[in-house]
Symmetry: C2
Subunit: 256 residues, 2 copies
């Protein structure tokens, strides 16, 4: 088995760059960090190219025959390439999937879609993807301004749900046009005078639900495209709900 101990190794330098969107695009790969995600990827039959593993983790997992290639790395290398402070010491190198040209034409429109418009916090994004998975949604669309699907902190926060539903990265106005072409309603989430209380909506089996930026809400352009704009009635004196909590209330409230 190949062993890599030095931070000066060219592979290590390349893996480190996978923490950035530019690095992932240039190399056409991304990293999954930790056993939970690696195992979820295996279960989902994601094509793992190489497993990177420390001697300590190797000792606990003698059978790695399911991985096409395995490289032993030092603890120092593990810490260097991880986005966490105390990595477990196991990583999967995965080919960045290419979205098929006809991706938008082939969407599953039997169930709802969550649209993330310029959402910034990896924890919020990951929690919303997990919740969409739990609520039985078909998929989650990451809009242009939203943090990248394969950003390490986003990958970690999704806790495996990234392998359970369809994640797409797309221009959301194009996606809304696509949904409208099939008469799928799209709901915004912003409190304004025209907004409808979410419990007053009788949502069909397939709809789009847009969640906006933590501070600024949805973009004007997208808001103009929505069929209805929903609000959650605030009874107390809180100024707002956390975006992931609001998304959970709306997803389970509209689709059950």
């Amino acid at each position: 088995m190949e062993k890599i101990n030095s931070l000066q190794n060219a592979h290590v330098k390349a893996w480190k760059k996978l923490q950035t969107k530019k690095g992932r695009k240039q190399q056409g790969e991304y990293l999954l960090d930790g056993w939970h995600l690696v195992n979820e990827a295996v279960k989902a039959k994601v094509a793992i190219k190489t497993l990177l593993i420390t001697a300590k983790q190797l000792a606990t997992q003698p059978d790695l025959t399911k991985f096409p290639a395995v490289i032993e790395i030092s603890e120092e290398v593990a810490t260097h390439i991880s986005a966490t402070v105390t990595p477990q010491g196991v990583f999967a190198l995965v080919t960045l999937p290419k979205a098929p040209a006809d991706e938008l034409a082939k969407l599953d429109l039997t169930r709802p879609w969550l649209l993330l418009d310029n959402v910034q916090d990896p924890g919020n994004i990951g929690t919303m993807v997990r919740t969409a998975d739990a609520a039985g949604f078909a998929g989650v669309a990451f809009g242009r301004g939203t943090v990248d699907v394969h950003q390490p902190k986003v990958e970690r926060a999704m806790q495996g749900s990234q392998f359970h539903l369809h994640l797409i990265s797309t221009d959301l106005t194009t996606l809304v046009d696509r949904l409208h072409a099939d008469h799928v309603p799209v709901y915004g989430s912003e409190l304004n005078p025209q907004a409808t209380q979410y419990l007053d909506v009788d949502a069909p089996a397939c709809f789009g639900l847009v969640m906006g930026n933590e501070g600024n809400g949805m973009s004007r352009e997208l808001l103009a495209q929505t069929d209805q704009n929903l609000y959650i009635p605030i009874k107390g004196r809180a100024e707002s709900l956390n975006v992931a909590v609001a998304a959970g209330i709306l997803m389970f409230g509209l689709y059950h």
Copy 2:
């Protein structure tokens, strides 16, 4: 105005200790960090003893007459006593409120209560308190194992909602007995064979809802005391929901 620049100053050492539960108990005080919390405390008429403020912040707020005492602190002192990496430079020193002996006898039982059983993550706790505020709950009870109300990260995460509803720290089994004495039902949240789908429950105006530990759920003892145990149906393949998201779905689902 008194100025304190040195980390060796006895006041500074004392303020630093307010980051720990022991320090807060010994000194009978806690710190609020940042303008948002300080302003919410002022709005809520919380008795602030002293405002600690850097020269930079002082320049933006010439009128501090509403504070009984003001001490100018250096940026170094601000960073030292803050639990955040980049503090704003303003803190309020507040007397730790003493719970009245008859606190449990005088609870508002016209609206629901959220009970936190051994919840550990300050972000989750803060988000749940905000959500309880938004949902119009009467208050939130922090059980013995749950992180302290006045822990700096919990204070920050509550974003002012700590001043909008009644927060109590108590033994939860005692509180459940108290609620039962007034025929207030208490709902657990754990998936088990006896659990009821949350939408099948017709909750009264006042009820208790218990959220448990992130990894281990509710304690056995408390679970045995609940009237009904609720679950949120998972349609997809997510293993679980984030505790704060689950709390949001249950609070808004049961009380609207």
